[in-house]
């Protein structure tokens, strides 16, 4: 299966190791990625708040570009996924809007038809490839306790996004458990990371992160797992800012899911991915590997 890959500008220019991990793992499941001259998705809050028309037209251009190649789009960022999926929904349900946008795209030799679907790596792994296939490839389980944060823009509005239950998401937890992790429930699992408010009010944004982190730390995880580069940056770098602003002491390692997948299926050079993590973690040896080496006599 071949997809037009849409890493998005945050992943491509700020979280390259996460992009690398996606590009490392998908060929293992027979997926080929094609790069196209996409613009920003554009970001679902910032650009759309300035002008709805501008937002939907940029998104339509991106989708039309994939359509012209006859490809579906694979996204890796929750924000990109939300923008493209919501715009597609608008264009597919409002013919007047579609005509207006196509009037602009015509000047670039493009047309939005509505023929390409948009899926996130989360959906590719859980819905298309499936837990069983993923588990069968695991050679080096990762026995750590994690909390997951799927990301607001993957979950809501649930009736349009259709990624997981917006109030009680479990799919990312199951994906983690397939790699040998223990996934912990926590109180504010579907709460925002705070990134959306950062452009309007920095302190409010980190006050939200403080609430979220406080809830996470109550269950004492070893790390957290996300599926969005913006959430990743907010959690990882944001912890230090939160600590400075509110005298907290958060220091939780964060992973983009496919990094752990690359490690668990035994791909080479995963050290390169982890080198840029700001909060480091020494991943423990899998329990099975340890018992293999032990000399105790089985009972």
């Amino acid at each position: 299966m071949k997809y037009a890959f849409f890493p998005g500008c945050t992943m491509a220019n700020r979280l390259q190791f996460a992009e690398k991990s996606v590009r490392m793992v998908v060929p293992e499941f027979g997926i080929e990625l094609v790069d196209l001259a996409f613009t920003c998705c554009p970001e679902p809050n910032a650009v759309r708040s300035l002008s709805e028309d501008t937002w939907v037209t940029f998104a339509a251009r991106n989708i039309a570009l994939a359509e012209s190649e006859g490809l579906d789009i694979l996204t890796a960022c929750a924000g990109c996924h939300e923008s493209l999926t919501l715009a597609k929904h608008e264009l597919d349900t409002k013919s007047e809007l579609k005509d207006k946008v196509n009037g602009i795209l015509k000047g670039m030799g493009l047309e939005y038809k509505g023929t390409s679907s948009i899926i996130h790596v989360h959906q590719l792994l859980f819905d298309e490839i499936g837990l069983e296939t993923i588990s069968s490839k695991v050679t080096r389980p990762v026995p750590i306790k994690v909390v997951t944060h799927s990301g607001c823009h993957l979950l809501r509005p649930q009736k349009i996004m259709k990624v997981d239950d917006a109030e009680a998401p479990v799919k990312l937890d199951l994906l983690c458990e397939a790699l040998g992790m223990e996934s912990l429930e926590y109180m504010d699992k579907v709460m925002c990371c705070g990134a959306g408010v950062r452009k309007a009010d920095n302190e409010t944004s980190y006050a939200i992160l403080k609430e979220k982190m406080t809830s996470i730390m109550m269950v004492e995880p070893d790390a957290m797992v996300v599926f969005c580069p913006t959430c990743y940056i907010t959690f990882e770098s944001g912890q230090r800012i939160t600590n400075r602003l509110f005298e907290t002491d958060f220091k939780l390692p964060v992973f983009y899911y496919t990094e752990l997948l690359a490690i668990a299926i035994g791909l080479p050079d995963t050290d390169k991915l982890l080198a840029d993590h700001r909060v480091k973690i020494e991943l423990p040896e899998p329990v099975e590997a340890k018992s293999d080496k032990s000399e105790s006599i089985p009972i």
Binding site: F17, P42, E43, V47, L50, I104, C152, R156
Partner: protein, 165 residues
């Protein structure tokens, strides 16, 4: 946009808020309200319907767009979407916050919001990531021109300049 266009747009937003019966589940679900109660979603809907703006003008920009309010509203009202409409109007009036305007400027200059840099390019090379094909910036300009984004940016630049003086 003409006054008539603006009024019509506001009327649509008010209509979208009318099913609200002030139960307040939006406020109890809102991460912003939890730490900054001046952004009260329940009162915001009421105020948009009756006054055409949120209680404290400018607070519409505090929405994190997490969509919890929309997901939980028993009447299917989406405050987040209503606020997008309010923000569009306030952007056209030159009232967008500085960082939002900068996002628009970045999109116009390079087609993306987190632009490439020497550092990011080097990181891509180090990791063996491909050079991504770049969009034609003429197409970016064409979208700005056709959708009124130039006027929005210009209005906000002028407002910022006026404030600085």
């Amino acid at each position: 946009m003409t006054d008539e266009g603006r009024n019509q747009e506001l009327e649509e937003l008010r209509k979208a808020g009318r099913p609200c019966f002030q139960c307040g589940i939006c406020a109890s679900s809102c991460p912003v309200f939890r730490v900054a109660p001046e952004m009260n979603p329940r009162l915001a809907v009421d105020s948009v319907v009756s006054e055409g703006h949120v209680p404290v003008e400018g607070n519409e920009w505090l929405c994190s767009y997490c969509l919890m309010c929309e997901e939980r509203c028993p009447m299917g009202v989406s405050l987040a979407e209503i606020l997008i409409g309010i923000k569009n109007i306030s952007s056209r009036e030159g009232k967008a916050p500085k960082d939002f305007v900068e996002s628009g400027e970045a999109l116009l200059a390079s087609g993306c919001l987190s632009p490439q840099s020497n550092r990011s390019d080097k990181k891509r090379v180090d990791l063996g990531l491909p050079d991504l094909p770049q969009p034609d910036l003429e197409q970016v300009k064409l979208i700005f021109e056709a959708t009124g984004a130039y006027e929005v940016l210009e209005k906000n630049r002028a407002a910022a300049k006026e404030e600085a003086e």
